[in-house]
Symmetry: C3
Subunit: 364 residues, 3 copies
């Protein structure tokens, strides 16, 4: 009846062929990670995702449910209410919603207002992750959830961690598609000078950007070489790294030992999964998994890889937060320079820009 006036914000400017930046609205028609399955339980939980306050819980049968954290009656945050079986009960007037969001009781009314409902968001659980679709629900095809089967495959062992970052998903994806920063930002872990200069093949395919690199007869970086116990060798490195969706970057790395010692593998594989969900302007949720196909039950390898990954990603977090802070606190405009190795990032930024413009109904 009376609309709550939203906060005023600058209209995003879409130009044909433009590139997304920190100020571009997030693509909504996409599966994003809402959280780890282990976080979502019978205790109501609140998380902001793509600018929307969301309440998350599981039904008695264990299905994850995501509902707008705002009662349609008087905007009370539903995560401050309670669960009664599979019914979510608002803490203000006791309005009740089933897991589809349909109102099933309003205690102050003699009959149930069946026209009333709260928006729910399609959810799907895959391995350790719960995915959510914040866009047009008619488009929420579970087949679009990116493949992460290795996170749930006994042939792989994973370590994992997460960050809540004051950054944006564009900068984060650009960082992940860019390996030329390794020797400078991550000298202690993944960065080797040879790698930064190795030739890369880039291709764009179905709104994904895929980079292939091969580097032969080179010393391994510590993060791979130490757990594989091949730091004294020269190896061949292969990597396929891809912007898989606005929600995910994945890198498939392979280290080949051309002359393995007796009883040792000739190849070591690492799948690095990065999951990024915009929270609100200026903040993102970030989860990472470092998976390997060897030493599956080796707690030393776990410990080393978790520590080394965390150090490298913390360096990224620190850099990206510093960038956004400068970008948003200065009044001066800046036009970024681009170089040849920025091509993968620019392809990704053009995809994010085009999709955001389409969703906003702008020609792009």
């Amino acid at each position: 009846m009376s609309a709550v006036i939203p906060l005023r914000r600058a209209e995003p400017a879409f130009e044909p062929g433009g590139f997304a930046n920190h100020a571009t609205p997030a693509v909504r028609n996409c599966w994003y990670v809402a959280g780890r399955g282990s976080e979502i339980s019978r205790d109501l939980m609140r998380r902001k995702l793509l600018g929307v306050d969301v309440a998350l819980y599981r039904t008695l049968a264990g299905e994850p449910v995501a509902v707008r954290n705002r009662c349609p009656h008087r905007s009370f945050p539903l995560a401050k209410g309670k669960l009664d079986g599979d019914i979510l009960v608002c803490g203000y007037h006791g309005m009740q919603f089933d897991s589809s969001g349909q109102c099933v009781n309003m205690p102050s009314m003699p009959t149930t207002p069946t026209h009333a409902s709260v928006r729910t968001y399609p959810c799907a659980e895959r391995g350790p992750l719960v995915w959510i679709w914040m866009g047009n629900p008619d488009l929420a095809d579970p087949a679009l959830i990116p493949d992460t089967h290795w996170l749930n495959d006994p042939a792989w062992a994973s370590v994992t961690g997460d960050f809540h970052m004051k950054s944006d998903y564009v900068s984060m994806h650009e960082n992940l598609l860019d390996q030329t920063h390794f020797p400078f930002l991550h000298p202690g872990t993944v960065g080797t000078p040879e790698y930064a200069r190795s030739k890369l093949d880039v291709r764009e395919e179905d709104d994904r950007v895929i980079i292939h690199r091969a580097l032969r007869n080179s010393p391994p970086p510590g993060i791979y070489g130490v757990p594989a116990e091949i730091m004294h060798k020269r190896v061949d490195r292969y990597s396929d790294s891809q912007f898989a969706s606005p929600a995910m970057h994945v890198a498939f790395a392979r280290i080949v030992d051309p002359e393995p010692d007796h009883g040792r593998p000739s190849q070591y594989r690492f799948n690095i999964t990065h999951l990024i969900t915009p929270e609100s302007d200026g903040a993102i949720h970030y989860w990472w998994f470092n998976s390997r196909d060897f030493k599956l039950h080796d707690t030393d390898a776990d410990g080393f890889l978790k520590a080394a990954s965390e150090q490298a990603y913390l360096e990224d977090v620190d850099a990206l937060e510093a960038i956004l802070e400068v970008v948003t606190s200065e009044d001066e405009p800046q036009f970024d320079l681009n170089f040849a190795p920025d091509k993968p990032g620019l392809l990704m930024r053009r995809i994010l820009h085009r999709r955001a413009a389409e969703e906003a109904g702008h020609p792009a």
Copy 2:
């Protein structure tokens, strides 16, 4: 000579027949509580009221004075100055103002600039409260101050408290006009399920909204039943609750014991006074009084009623702050659903909207 540029804010949108919400400017032509009389003294005090910084003090004769906390010369906050008798002296250049706001001396000038003055706001003291009129001073008729004589009547005993809340006066008044939330938000104090479903009469009268409820042969709620020592009985409850002005909600509750024990009253009365003054966007001042006409000098009753009231109001504060936080932090628009029991609140919101629109010179 040169105007200080005010902060930019969105123009409020007034639609004919619309309903006030958290973003609607506060009605200014109204008496609001500026503070407790006990707070206002010979020590200069600062308080923000309806977006205006106000300095408060008492003259030597004890009269409360409210003056804009901003010297008309160079905007120095006058509450950081000092009192010299009934003269307020600015702490920056020593400019002096009498209690009407008229400049009576500017030390750096050979003659007094008699054209200079600072705005004062009409004040009036009633019982424990000092009221202020922040609107058009020509309309500041003391007869418009709402009746609160029971706060100063020896036939009544009161307990009191206050909150500084991150909320808005619309939500606060709506909460006070709405008793259907009692069983859900206040299960331990005022909420009984029977009460939430009891029939109410609503009428609008002279920009007030008055609700009458009667509930016969029902267990008393703890907050009334315990001090009256009638928790074991079934009683009749009568309540007249009203939106008395933008500044005040008052509830007159009566518990009738149809079969009083020997020497016991057949009726217990409670007047609950809620005083609400917008501070600035997103914050309000709130004072409450719980007054009774029995056990006038009973400190146990005082203690019980203060603790029970504070618990119930803290639940309201917590709920209303959570609502405003969601409403103002999300980008998504929301259209609230309304139900039949929301009628009193909607009548109140239409009054606040109409009066704000009139003050802004908008047709409404």
Copy 3:
């Protein structure tokens, strides 16, 4: 290629003959103090100046260099990088810049992108201060740096201090040009009632505002009289105080003792230098020096003058922060009253307004 969208801000309103206030953009074509020379070293340092993030360092030869703290490639703050000789190396991709800002290496590129550079700002060191020019570099004539030779002259001894203030340079300059506030804001130090009422000559000259005061046969203020040991005397006071530039106010004070005791000077001189650099909206950097031409190596005099100055300036800081807080937190517009003694401040505000308007391309 794609511009980072700057924050939206209200367009400044320039009216012909108007007066600068807290909301007027800072004049940029001016030498400002970037910092003390002692702060700028081989360790990269970051400071926000006129809304721009600046990285400061010294070359191996000791020359101060100021460079925009934002890599032109991906906006990484260069102060988080490192120095390699006189080469500034970005911490993200290792892009290298010489002290003129020219890119001299981009590790990920086979050849150096010679079109790339980062903006540098002209710097000049004078005595204990490093000055910077944030405006049009073609106009950065070192001859425009205001004279502060006494800060580096063995005939003078100085004490110094600094503040980071939540204020604006207009209010600060107005405060410094105004001595009528001395008895009220600084009763314990510089304020004497006679002084506030003494006649002043004001003249405007080359965008400077110069005030001359003379006060004969008067008790000295403590801040001058105590170190000169003449508190028991009546003296003649002369002062030339000037708005020397948007970056500096300087006061030349002279106390003449008409009947000096045997072996005592007949005159004591004090040069008070105030250096003000806008940081961003709502904040300024402020450095002060209190210099004297007697008791050059007297640590007691140093201690007294530093403590007394700090007390007086802290009173100014406190007042100016209180003013800006009121001015920017209220919604109500205010038109400041002006009195005859405000003339110097108004002349200065007209200069700042005209110069800001010219720089913005507005007629003024």
